[in-house]
Symmetry: C2
Subunit: 188 residues, 2 copies
């Protein structure tokens, strides 16, 4: 389990990247930054640092930070009850990010559902990384991910700061491809 | 009418402020930046420069730029059809902004509906500026404006860059307190 000291170190490092990107946080936002290890004790490889600006019943806005090579593992935002599932727009603010989404190309060309030569390799447990349409985002570039679409993403060599604009966020409803991952137990 | 040369000059100046704030735009975003003069030919005093990142049927995200002392005049986002009206969160990224919203204080203390000593005076036509609850936002601070609530805002002496996160935006439905203002005819 990622220790609280390691989480605090991650918050410090993420705050430095946000500062580099010109993003100003309040003291509370800095202190309450979410550090998610996705149930692995390998935060450098698998993790995300998140500042939630606003999450109300109509829209949500966050800043996502990834360190050099840090990966957010594959997941999707399914519909539930009357909610059609979370739709989200990733806007790269700083550094660069490789985003992989489930797409036409992937489902047509890969009979066994595994990845074909992505620019960046998934960190490990690669049977749980299937989305293979690669979108490389540099600062100022953005991409909108439809609801219920498998996706994963990883920062380039300088790390990345991503603004996420979306419909309301219900992290507890996220479905990760790797059944080991417990999203709600992996951040605090 | 604000000339195209004046509008292009405003885009250039707004792009400089965004650059100062660390915000990176694509070439298309820079070229398509909206310059709104709110039907006055006094852009330095009354106007807003806007980059729309995303406006879909579920959420909207924009960057708003105001020059030193430039004012966005009072308006509200009313409900229409099945839509409950636009709700928006303003997050100050750079500079500072004085936001005035219709509030308890205003409606209780002012019998004639006029402003009581705001820090920043409205530019002119002040009978059309009635919201008087002052919220001063500095970088990292944000405020959420409920639907159908009158509000206006003005930048401090260095200008301001504001990220707006909101429900979907329908500019054509905005209601300005000053009936002279035609929102849709005042930007291109």
């Amino acid at each position: 389990m990622t220790s609280e000291a390691e989480r605090e170190q991650a918050r410090e490092r993420a705050a430095d990247l946000l500062h580099e990107a010109g993003v100003v946080l309040t003291g509370d936002e800095r202190r309450e930054m979410e550090v998610v290890d996705y149930s692995f004790d390998r935060l450098e490889e698998v993790g995300t640092e998140i500042v939630v600006y606003e999450n109300n019943d109509r829209y949500c806005a966050k800043e996502l930070v990834l360190f050099d090579g840090q990966t957010c593992p594959e997941h999707r935002h399914p519909p539930f009850d009357d909610y059609p599932g979370k739709q989200e727009t990733f806007r790269c603010r700083w550094g660069d990010v490789y985003l992989y989404v489930e797409g036409e190309e992937a489902s047509e060309s890969e009979s066994d559902g595994t990845l074909q030569n992505p620019t960046v390799e998934p960190p490990f447990r690669d049977e749980y990384y299937t989305a293979s349409e690669e979108i490389h985002l540099t600062p100022g570039e953005q991409y909108t991910i439809p609801p219920d679409t498998r996706h994963w993403f990883v920062a380039g060599e300088d790390g990345a700061v991503i603004s996420e604009f979306s419909s309301p966020s219900f992290d507890e409803e996220d479905v990760f491809t790797d059944p080991k991952i417990d999203r709600m137990e992996s951040s605090y």
